[in-house]
Amino acid sequence: MNFKDLQKELKAIKGVSNLSLIRQNVIKIDLEKSVSKAFFTQLKEDFYFEHCSLITAVDNQPDFELVYHLSCLSGELTVDDTRMSAMIEVHIHLKRDSPSIDSVSDLWFGANWHEREAFDLMGIYFIGHPDLRRVLLPEGFAGHPLRKDYVYEIHEEEW
């Protein structure tokens, strides 16, 4: 499939807005939270994005934003005549009082720990995740340190 055809098809999908080309091989889109699961399934099944590179949570105060970087490694998506691998950057807006979204770890196993990390450090809840535990911080840690309103408290220990 050609990268240009992909852009046309993406524009027609409901919930997708602000499609733009960041680099020759990278598309950036905004996506509505409600259609996320169906859209990601389509990306994987129909558009050859078989690798989840990264899931980033950004605290944009007041609201959160999730950024998905998905890529095609097998070369099924061709970018013009180059050997470049195609990539898509998906932005999803999340309200601060309900920071939750459908998990994609059943589509890409590689997303599993990225979601755990976003939960651990930013407090985003992934619905349907098989094992949503902290991954980097110890169990019992209070708060989510990458949030901008996180206050680091120094606990004076008694010696």
Partner: protein
């Protein structure tokens, strides 16, 4: 027989860094695994939000102690994308040379660490002896042996010293002879092949889904290398090929992952030679490097261990608003239950060693 959990780590010769691998065994056979991380978490992303853009290169150096320049380079590339900085051509050549020297040092470090895992202590000494040669080379322009801090936003710290090309050529020649010796010592050794062949198998399709990239993916025969497919610096002007190996149709085992790294070292030698041939004269630092940045940018690079991705958000100040590091090993370790299941407990060092773990970048 009753199943039971065995905890390997955080202090265990298999782990190569601080992490725990809990394995569920039925007799000698692994039925499940649960990796645990966090022992080396230094919250680099959070620290980075408090430091200015150019100060963060000291943190990125410490992400991976075996391959520090590639990580700094990845960060610097993302910042340059964010600030729209043009890098002089000579600086790009120097960067490529440094990256490939670092890749050689990193792969040698891995090979040296892998051999004791298989009970071959001599291998460690041989590989680390050669790594020393490349550390000496990396020391010449940067002044340090492990954490170089050589890549700067807009270029490199300083130009290459006099005689660097001749010294490099001498070492590369020696190294090529040594690679032939290794072929006799390891590839043709029956014991080494018995430990590594048909162990730790996964297919290319599985690997892509599980987030396994880099040499581990190329060991499955997938022709994917970000140096070509998301090209940066001057890799597209250099004459070189992507190395792939297969254990069988579309899958890899420990041996094919070993071989793909050996091939990559040969390719790195080729890249370095070609760089010296084509390198122009000129400045090594951009004349205009802004301090503030806004917007968002990301770049991915081919680290020694796989796909490294840096995502940066700037809010117009001189510090990053959000800085996200993607480590290839983070997802590769997360998938370890998939490629450990069904093998024997004694195969764990062979399998986990073959994927080249670095906990510094994984725990961030």
């Amino acid at each position: 027989m009753a199943e039971m959990w065995i905890s390997m780590g955080p202090q265990h010769p298999m782990t190569h860094g601080l992490w725990t691998l809990k394995v569920k065994v039925d007799g000698e056979t692994i039925v499940d695994a649960d990796p645990e991380l966090g022992y080396l978490h230094r919250s680099v992303e959070k620290m980075g939000e408090r430091r200015k853009y150019f100060m963060n290169t000291t943190l990125t150096d410490r992400l991976c102690y075996a391959s520090s320049t590639t990580w700094t380079h990845s960060y610097v590339l993302a910042v340059e994308e964010l600030m729209e900085v043009e890098v002089p051509t000579r600086a790009q050549y120097i960067r490529t040379i440094m990256l490939e020297l670092q890749r050689l040092a990193s792969h040698l470090m891995w090979a040296g660490a892998y051999m004791p895992d298989l009970g071959h202590i001599t291998g460690a000494l041989y590989f680390w002896r050669d790594r020393e040669l490349f550390l000496n080379l990396l020391e010449l322009p940067s002044g340090s042996r492990l954490l170089y801090n050589y890549m700067r936003i807009g270029g490199v710290k300083r130009d290459l010293p006099d005689g660097f090309e001749q010294k490099t050529e001498r070492i590369l020649k020696l190294f090529e002879q040594r690679l032939d010796e290794y072929a006799d010592l390891f590839e043709n050794s029956k014991i080494f092949r018995m430990r590594t062949e048909d162990v730790g198998k996964f297919t290319g399709t599985q690997a892509m889904n599980m987030g396994i990239t880099g040499p581990n993916l190329r060991g499955c025969g997938v022709k994917h290398d970000l140096r070509v497919e998301d090209t940066y610096e001057i890799y597209e002007e250099i004459d070189w090929d992507i190395c792939t190996r297969e254990a069988g149709p579309g899958y890899s085992d420990c041996f094919s992952r070993y071989m793909v790294r050996i091939d990559e070292m040969k390719e790195s030698v080729r890249i370095i030679r070609d760089c010296f041939k084509k390198m122009p004269q000129g400045p090594t630092m951009s004349s205009r490097v802004p301090v503030r940045a806004s917007g968002e940018a990301f770049r991915r690079t081919e680290d020694s261990r796989g796909e490294a991705l840096m995502y940066l958000v700037g809010d117009g100040s001189d510090r990053p608003y959000r800085w996200k590091i993607k480590s290839p090993m983070f997802t590769t370790i997360s998938a370890c239950p998939h490629y450990l299941k069904g093998y024997k407990l004694a195969d764990i060092p062979a399998i986990m060693g073959s994927i080249d773990i670095c906990i510094g970048e994984t725990d961030k």
